[in-house]
């Protein structure tokens, strides 16, 4: 273990290691990791929220909402990333866009299911009384269901984000990028001589996930009005791992 720590220190002492512009730089890989995550999350959220909210508002396709998260959990992200890479490279696309597409596919299930649950499971008595007060369909959605669903919807986005950050690293197996996963994959390829690099990559990746999750949760507590917090989030929906 002492050897590994020494390797890790040596690895971090490399002159190019703190560069924003060199591919060997830790800051370079962190920025890469973050932009891949952000791009995938933006696309996934924009694609998923409108149909999920619409379906939930009309209480349609309930079976889809509950099964999509199970399907998402059963698909191995490891295989999916490599499949996307394979199909993209056969079509002459071997850039990070294929990785982003795979990340989007993995982010959709938790976002969809939480958004659906958040809107569909607003207390029926509240919906009834809102209608009784003469709220139009549109008002019901935007003034009652969406505000009350905010916390659950955001939880889905947080869960998806954690999964995406984790999966970007797996992308390093086939893509030139892969953010912080680069250090772990390259380190493994060097055998025991690369363990220092592997551990540095692992610490950075774990810290990145926990900080991102912590900041997201803090932002939720800060910006979601207190009256809208504390709704029950079904346990199963939180479960997504990469």
């Amino acid at each position: 273990m002492g050897d590994v720590l020494q390797q890790a220190v040596e690895f971090m002492g490399d002159p190019g290691r703190w560069s924003f512009t060199e591919p060997g730089g830790i800051p370079y890989r962190i920025v890469e990791h973050l932009w891949l995550t952000l791009a995938a999350m933006l696309v996934a959220t924009i694609l998923t929220l409108p149909p999920a909210v619409w379906l939930a508002h009309h209480h349609r396709a309930e079976a889809l909402a509950s099964s999509i998260v199970n399907i998402g959990r059963a698909i191995p992200s490891f295989g999916l990333i490599i499949l996307f890479w394979l199909i993209a490279s056969r079509n002459g696309i071997s850039s990070n866009w294929a990785l982003i597409a795979a990340l989007v596919a993995l982010a959709i299930p938790p976002i969809f299911t939480n958004a659906y649950t958040g809107v569909a499971e607003v207390d029926p008595a509240l919906v009834e009384s809102a209608r009784g007060q003469g709220l139009t369909d549109r008002q019901l959605l935007f003034d009652v269901e969406l505000p009350l669903g905010t916390e659950v919807i955001l939880t889905g986005i947080r869960v998806a984000m954690v999964q995406v950050i984790a999966t970007v690293g797996i992308g390093a197996i086939v893509f030139n990028g892969g953010g912080l996963g680069r250090f772990i994959i390259d380190g493994f390829a060097k055998g025991p001589a690369g363990y220092g690099e592997v551990v540095v990559g692992a610490v950075l990746l774990a810290v990145l996930v926990l900080v991102a999750e912590g900041l997201f949760s803090a932002a939720m507590r800060r910006f979601v009005p207190r009256g809208l917090q504390g709704r029950h989030v079904p346990d199963e929906i939180e479960a997504a791992v990469a």
Binding site: G79, L205, A206
Partner: protein, 228 residues
Amino acid sequence: MNALVMLGQERPLVDWTWIADNLPLIWDATLEHITLTVVSVGLGMAVSLLLTIAALRWRWMYGGILAVGGILYSIPSLAALAFLVPLFGIGATAAVITLATYTVLILVRNIMTGLDGVSEDTIEAARGQGYTERQVLLGVQIPLALPVMMAGLRVATVTVIGLVTVTALIGQGGLGQLILTGVRLLPPLPVMIVVGTVLSVVLAIVFDLALLGLGKLLTPWTRSQKSA
């Protein structure tokens, strides 16, 4: 596009001849996948039961267990493997520990939720009939908590089946080993990637349904309740 990719283009995604010629390889990978899953979930279950027993005795521990479980749950499997390999070397130990950590949060939470869901009246009635505390736990609380526990076991198992593939990076991986070999061959062999991914999904579905069936067998009263 490089030469390697050009070559890969000629090979079909679904190559039945390759599959027919390599059934023993596929079977071995599937068996390894199942073994890793069962051992990891078993270890996770054992740890979770111990933690739950501790949490039942010392209630304040429950919050701490969930917090630590939540952090472990968020740590990417790639990072977890990377932490453990320098400690345990390349091999099954690092893989199994990594996989087991992802089950603890789900299992502990479901066991506790299940036990907490048993109503005080029921427990009181059992005591009134002369049940000892141990009999109450084993004969009343655990059976009634089984449906929620089984739901947790299903989620944990399906999660682990998907994650097993990642352990291919440290020489394990079951079906993940097919995927990784397929990608590392020169030129890549697409059918291996497709077979590995599809069979992993199939395994997840088979285990999910098998555990669903087992849960129903173990709790026959839940069926009669629904029809009543």
